[in-house]
């Protein structure tokens, strides 16, 4: 092999080595190329283009023109952008903690050594493989203001005048959040189940010998031991929440009014429906920076806590 020759003699023996490196490069590229061509053309180029387009003015009628920060100035004064940003943060503030709690709860409930527990785990994962259109269809009907099961239940337990959910500007977002928590919790449950299985049993046994009750064991052992998992789940949930799009499009389409309009949807409307390529890319850049910043901050906090 080539690495046996630590000091290759100049001249003669250099050539086969170089030829070998050449061959490896050719072979390596031949493996990568079929995927790389598609990846470079349809992902890498669009990603780079998105950054450049944010500083250009370009709509379907006119040629692209470099305008510097003009798109961002326009953003600053665009009321739709403010509404979408606020709604995205609202959605995230509900979706992130609730999904986290629901996923952890499910994982705790299903982390038992019982015969047939696999069946229950599969069932809890079902909502996640259900298509968003079906999810939206079913939940829109569940949330039907007059005869939907949700409101019938609320009336049965004595709630006077239950909310009108997706038909009202105040309650549409909570309805969307509830739906998304239901759909996503099974996915994060899988990650929590994996995390729970790494906690040594001896910890619990020792705590029980010391007389710790279930509540204390949960807060003193389970939660601290799950910290790496929770961190990972938190990062994933944050990214997922900020870029929410399809659920909103199929469930409320941003309405009623602008009450559930989110950033990704604004990109879609301005860029693809209106053909404002430059302006929509500026919104996209803001969305990316938002996701990026939050992720970096989370990593920093995690580092500080671990040290």
């Amino acid at each position: 092999m080539a690495h046996v020759m630590t000091h290759p003699a100049p001249g003669g023996s250099q050539t086969p080595r170089r030829r070998r490196a050449w061959r490896d490069t050719l072979i390596g590229w031949s493996f990568i190329l079929p995927n790389f061509l598609g990846f470079a053309l349809f992902t890498l180029v669009p990603v780079l283009a998105a950054f450049a387009l944010a500083f250009m003015e370009w709509d379907s009628a006119n040629d692209p023109e470099w305008v510097g920060l003009e798109n961002f100035a326009r953003l600053w004064n665009d009321e739709n952008f403010h509404v979408a940003l606020r709604n995205t943060i609202y959605y995230s503030a509900g979706h992130i903690p609730l999904t986290l709690a629901a996923a952890l709860g499910l994982a705790m409930a299903l982390n038992r050594r019982l015969r047939g527990v696999e069946f229950f785990r599969t069932a809890a994962f079902f909502p996640y493989v259900t298509s968003l259109v079906a999810v939206a269809v079913v939940w829109n009907m569940l949330f039907n203001p007059t005869a939907g099961p949700v409101n019938l239940f609320l009336e049965a337990i004595g709630v006077q005048d239950p909310p009108r959910w997706v038909a009202s500007t105040d309650w549409a977002m909570p309805a969307v959040i509830a739906t998304s928590v239901w759909r996503d919790m099974g996915y994060y449950m899988v990650l929590y189940l994996a995390g729970l299985q790494t906690i040594p049993k001896e910890y619990y046994e020792a705590a029980m010998v010391d007389g710790a009750n279930a509540w204390q064991r949960f807060w003193r052992i389970t939660i601290p031991s799950l910290r790496p998992t929770t961190f990972f789940v938190l990062v994933m949930l944050t990214i997922q929440s900020f870029k929410v799009l399809d659920l909103i499009v199929v469930m409320t389409d941003g309405g009623p009014g602008r009450s559930t309009l989110v950033l990704a949807q604004l990109i879609f409307r301005e860029g693809i429906r209106e053909g404002e390529f430059g302006y929509s890319s500026a919104i996209a850049l803001v969305l990316f920076l938002l996701v990026f910043t939050v992720t970096v901050v989370q990593f920093r906090i995690n580092e500080r806590r671990s040290s």
């Binding site: 390596g28 493996f31 995927n35 229950f120 493989v129 259109v133 009907m141 099961p149």
Partner: protein, 296 residues
Amino acid sequence: MTTLREAPPAAGPGPSQAGPPPRGPRIFRRTLAYVSLVAVTLLVLLPLGWMVTSSLKRNNEVFTIPIEWIPREFRWSNYVEIWEQIPMATYLGNSLYLSVVITFLQVLTGSFAAYGFSKVSFPCRDGLFLAYIATIAVPWQAYMVPQYIMMQRADLINTHLSIILLQAFGAFGVFLMRQYYMSIPDELCQAARIDGLSEYGIYRRIILPLSKPALASLALLTFVSTWNDYMGPFIYLTSNELWTVQLGLRSFVGQYQADYAMIMTGAVLSVLPVMVIFLFGQRYFIQGIATSGLKG
């Protein structure tokens, strides 16, 4: 019963006999555990159960006060009529076509590239891989507009090809497969090289057979996410005969808002294929999520 050891399906016979000290009679505690499991599961599945039972009702029976969880008579005819009311067969066919082609290309090119990234060393290799990783961090929503412009210029709007090109070469597949290949020892490849196998031979005869679980994970994750995708077809496909089942169902809801039962029938039909696939391959599905923690 009390002396019988619980037999967990996954864990082997370990020194777990000690366990938590039993407080009450074991059978009672176990029953309680099952009751709570059933309760939690029912709660999670309630919306899906309601979807299925509603799909077997008349339109005017879906919203009744109080709620009827089980229909008085099962209207299986809904499942016959829906094929006449909307071109369900075309929609299902389109969904199947896109899902199969994209999954095939993703698994093939992804595993091929992953071999190059993990088992062949050449200059710039890791820099190139970094480009793959970096794009995973950028949300798709941030570059959907440039993709759309490209497809528009290439005159590929309203073709299945546009969706295939955009989704078949994702970085995710390469990432997932590379993770797995890294766990296969290099010595195995070295030995095969000494035996005179070419790199392509090593990939086909050694790595591929060894990575069946990872291939299955990637195939399932890709298939399900393509089948369930809404935004891609929504952006690119405008003619009815090209629509996927997701688009078809969405437009059905818009057109026949009061056909509640029929809408539910459509929803069940759109979910059924994925559920069946998931039930058969759930082990690989969940492995894929637990190891990569990322989705397509």
